[in-house]
Every structure is written in C-alpha cells, then in structure tokens.
Symmetry: C2
Subunit: 371 residues, 2 copies
C-alpha cells in the first residue's frame, strides 16, 4: 500500500493512507491556529449558540443525560480540527443523531434559530471542508452506521451515511462483492462523506465514478425536509434524477442520511506491476497499451514522476523497488481467474518492453508486497 498511498497523497493531494496521517498527526500535536485568524474570512449573520439551544438538542437526542450532545471543550476540539491539523474552527457543540428523523428535527430547529451547521462524516478530508470555520454546530454522522441490507443477487447495499468505508468493504466482501471505490482513508471515512464529496479513489478506472454507482440517496435539507431519492434499481430512469445533485455537493444542499449503492462482483486475483519509463509520452502509450492489452482486468493505472517518488521514499524512509527513471507507472489488474490475469499481464509487459516503452519493472501478486 505504501507507494499507492504515498503517490495519491502527493499527486492527487486528496487522500492519505491512515498510516501516513497518523505520522502527520503524531508529529504535529500542537493545536493549529484558528481558521478565522489565519484567513480573511467573515462570519455570516448567524445566531450564537445559547444554553437553551443545547437543552433543545439534548431533548431531541435522548434527554438531559444523553451522550450524544458533546459540549466539553476537550471532547469538542477533535471535531473542530481537520485531519491534517491545518485549520481549526471553534464550534461549541457536537450533535450525534442516530436516525434521519433526528437529523431532520435538528436541522429544522437550527434553521429556525438561524444557527449555522457543519455536517461531518469521518473528518478525513484534506481540504478543511469537514470542520467548522467559525462556531458552526457540528452534526456528526458517526452513529448513523447501520448497514440495512446487502443483496448479493443485485449487488446492492443499502446503508446509513455514517458507515465507515472499510466496514462496508468487509461486509459486502463477505457476499462476493466489492465497494466500487477505494481510498487511503477508508478505515475512517464515511460513505456519506464519500458521496457528498464525490470521492474518486483508486478504482475509478475500473468501476467509474459515484454517479454511476450510487442508486439512491435520502437527504435532509437545511430546513429539515426529508427527501426520499432512494432507489434499488440499477436501470431506474423515471423522473428527474435529483439524487445526482447531492453527489459532490458537499453538504450545501442538505445532509445525506442514507444511500443505496451498486457493488460490482469481487475479483479473486489481484496483480500489481511497478514500471520505470523514460518519458511522459511513453507513459501515455503504455496507458493505451494497458487499456487494450489488459482490457477488462485493468483496475488501476497511475503515473508517478521522479520528484514525487523521491519525496515519498525519503519522507517515509522506504526504497523504490526499481532503479531511477524520470517516470513510473503503477498498474493493477484484478480478475476472476489468476492464471488468465497473469498471462495477460506477462504478455503486456513483454510487448511494452520489446517496444521500448517500459524500461524496467517488478510484478507481484503477494498482497503484503503490494502494501
């Protein structure tokens, strides 16, 4: 996983592996400066939180003794700081609903009171979008983590938005399915956050983006209205497809509370090749050769330039598996028959090396080496 995670972090600047992030976190335990002190941002004309508001929240989320309304400064702090510890808000309360009805009731109240709300999933985003900028009420989806149904025939999973991606992966994996997206933060990111931000991830080349995989969403608008845009039918083409507005709208149109997603059939065999190349043009031609030669088993194809790989190997104290080249490619195949996949990969490598496109490379199907 190292190279993939590291590459993604540097090249796509979107997601880090949990390992990488933990390294960051332990090195930078100091509390970051407040976002509003660091950037020229202006608080909107929203109301300020009162004790009465907190009492109402407690009433909605289980009563006076509830553990689902956090107000203690040390508990609330983690929800105000992003994954990279680069920005910080000063929200005073964290709400943890369990149901869509609770989310609706909370949003309805906040809307009436003009309290700003910051929805939060796994708080793994790297662009500071998941934490308050000022004193927004944090609405965490953490406790909305029920997997309602996995249908192995249709390949459809129906779940609440707060399910952790890795948990879903494990559960659908047990039914011979695979989640159509995979990213470094999967151990803590929420599927609702993935959908809200239209996360791409490593499997995009094979399974496409979330507009293709998400079959339905249930969302609550700012004024507390529940929109039922659920569907469990891959070929559903009735009416306007409003659910797509919620994919990638980052909470600005409402909070996704439930969703149904199509999961492809899991592949039994996975191979990874790490290649060295002379030029960007060779990378392009190798990409085309991979699409044609590996066809349906090609599941990931990423480029790394020398500077990126150099930074990664130095930063993480690791070694490149091959000699130095101006460009590298990481090609993953996954398929239903290990023998067939290896044959295709061997033929592809032979041809591209003969053509002088690929200079050097290493291949493995050993999952520990891939990591």
């Amino acid at each position: 996983m190292f190279l993939r995670g590291a590459f993604r972090a540097l090249a796509l600047n979107r997601n880090l592996t949990p390992i990488a992030v933990r390294t960051f976190a332990s090195k930078q335990r100091e509390v970051p400066a407040l976002t509003c002190d660091r950037y020229p941002v202006q608080r909107g004309s929203f109301a300020e939180l009162t004790d009465d508001d907190v009492a109402v929240f407690r009433g909605i989320l289980g009563g006076a003794d509830t553990s689902r309304v956090l107000t203690a400064a040390d508990e609330v702090q983690d929800y105000n700081i992003d994954y990279l510890r680069s920005v910080r808000g000063y929200g005073r309360v964290v709400l943890k609903p369990r149901t869509t009805a609770e989310v609706a009731e909370l949003l309805r109240y906040c809307n009436e009171r003009r309290l700003a709300v910051c929805p939060q999933g796994g708080n793994t985003g790297l662009v500071g979008g998941s934490v308050p900028v000022f004193d927004e009420v944090v609405l965490s989806l953490q406790l909305m983590d029920t997997i309602e149904r996995i249908d192995e025939y249709s390949g459809i999973v129906v779940c609440q938005a707060g399910c952790v991606l890795a948990t879903l992966e494990e559960q659908v994996g047990a039914r011979g399915l695979v989640m159509p997206l995979d990213l470094g933060a999967k151990g803590s990111c929420h599927i609702g956050g993935n959908v809200s931000t239209n996360a791409g991830g490593l499997r995009l080349v094979r399974y496409g983006h979330l507009h293709g995989s998400v079959l339905g969403v249930e969302a609550v608008t700012a004024e507390g209205r529940v929109l039922d845009l659920m569907s469990n039918f891959k070929k559903d083409n009735t009416g306007y497809h409003l659910k797509h507005l919620f994919i990638g709208s980052e909470g600005t149109l409402g909070i996704i509370t439930r969703l149904s997603m199509f999961c492809p059939t899991a592949s039994r065999s996975v191979n990874v090749a790490f290649l060295g190349l002379h030029s960007y043009d060779d990378v392009k031609r190798t990409f085309l050769a991979a699409k044609r030669g590996l066809g349906e088993v090609l599941s990931s194809c990423e480029m790394i330039d020398a500077a990126s790989l150099d930074s990664c190997t130095r930063f993480f104290g690791l070694q490149s598996p091959i000699d130095k080249y101006p460009f590298y490619m990481l090609i993953e195949t996954s398929g239903s028959d290990a023998g067939h996949d290896e044959e295709k990969l061997a033929r592809f490598l032979e041809q591209t090396m003969e053509q002088g496109l690929v200079q050097d490379g290493t291949v493995t199907n050993d999952s520990t080496k891939m990591k």
Copy 2:
C-alpha cells in the same frame, strides 16, 4: 441479433431492432388516429402557428429558400407519427437547426411567441414521446450530427446530439473504443435522444448507465439560454453536477445539443450462450454464478420466459436454437483474449450444468449466428 432484439422488444417494451420495426411499419402503413382523438388530452393555451412565424423560422435557418424548414403536409407527416405508428400529432412545421446558436434562437422566438415545441431525435421511441401530441413545432436534431473529437487515450467522444448511435459506434470502433450503450434502434436513434431518455440497453450490466458515461452536456433551455455543462474529464467533481438533470429528463428542461461521453476499450472477443432452465430460481442462481464465474468478461445477461420466446419465434417465423424450457437465458461475454473468455465460459457452463441449474444450451462466437 434476432433473439436479443425480440426479447428486448417484448420483455422491456422499450426498443425494437430496426428489422422488427420495418416489419411493423410495412404491415401498418395506414395513418394512425390523431392522439387527441384517441386519448382524453387537452391542448395547453399555446399560440397557433402563423405564416409570419414560418417566415421568422426561415430567416433563422438559412433564408427564404431554405430546405431546413418543412411545411409541406407529406414531408411533415413522418415527424408527427411515432415509430410504432400508434400515435399522431398535427404539427405544421419541422425545423432543422445545424448549430446550438440556431436552436437557441428558435427556442427564444417560440418562447416569446408561446409556441409549443416538440424536440425530436431519431424518432425511435416506443412510448410516443418523440412526436407532437397536438400542433407543436417539431425541432429535429437530424442535421446536428458532427462528431467533433474522439480521443483514444482518454476514451472520450465529443459530438452533437443528432449523431446516430451506430455511426458513433463505427467511428469510435475505428479507434479501439466501444460506445457504452447498445440498443436495437441504433441504426436511427440519436445519441442526444439516448441521453435525454436515459436509454439503458444491452451493455448496462457491463458499462453501467449513462449517468456514469456522460461526462458533459450542452443544453438549450426553453427560453433560449445555452447551458455549457460540458466536461472532458472523467474525474471532474467540481461544483454541482447539473448535467445529470438533463440525463433522462426527456426534453422537459431543455434540449441537449452537444455532449461528451466516455467510451470503454473495445473487446476483441465476443461469445454468446443461449441456455434453457427449469425455474426462475435457477435463473437467479445462474445469474449469480455468471457474475462470479465470468466476472469481468460478462457483458450481457438476459432472461426470457417460455411465453415470450414462443411469441417471438412465431411472430418472426424463426426457430429456437434449443428445446423448450420454462425459462431461457442469453449470456454474452466480451473480453480482450478469446482463449481466456472461452475457457471461462466453458468452465461456467460445465459447473452450472453439473449443479443442475442449466439444462441445455448452445454457445457461439460466430457473429452471424449471434444475429
């Protein structure tokens, strides 16, 4: 193609093969009753077309001698009758713009004059949605058939909405790509109509629906505003993804004039198996076995019941390739290596027959037999 086309026509009731439709048409050359006489529909309070309007249309579309404004009754008639000759409108004029700017100018004028407009693609729909109900102005996309760009690296085609699906298939095929949708009407249906109606088609099991394949659209709203929602980037996740509203909205939000679409890599090898089964439960279990055993090469999987097959064989005067069973399945594989695909298919058939799921079957990779 016979069985597939026939099955689709009966089971999905959406698309017929051009062959089947031609049979229909020649048997029913009589003009169908007017929709407004046959159904209890009420004309909206729209303006009636005048000679002045026609003069304005001519002015926009090339001047007084233009061939792009049809008003002769016999020329206009075909645009008023649907593919199945089951409904008929009485629109008096057909407009054939060539550019987005012309579409915008026409719609702006019609909107100001309160003239109702019926956008029309290939007029291959089977639900009467592509022809006027009353006297709507027909705006045909027929002449907007420019393929602007095919990029074999990214697999992206950019074209006008009036391109015929089969033409696109041919053109992208020459670059080693395949259109992500395939349907019986492809010889005359327009890609813009496919996208407007969110056509599914045969390749859905492999390449997903159009929300996953369409990367961008350009559309003109009823008041003549051009919306540029084009994108040539598969991973684009900026802003709201408004283009999805146009996919499947059937012209109600505007007319799609251009689009960009992701095309997967074409498969070199195609096999088709036609199977006989005892029960619906066996069909379900065979479907699951196909998803798992054929995995990434499974490209189509359809069920046909005895009554449907019977109707088809009788209606088209053809013979079933196998004995009678309560259920049949048509399974298609397509992949990059013929040997591998045949091995996978043989193993799948062997296993499902051994398990008693599949009773009988025939397999071919001969494209004439498939048809």
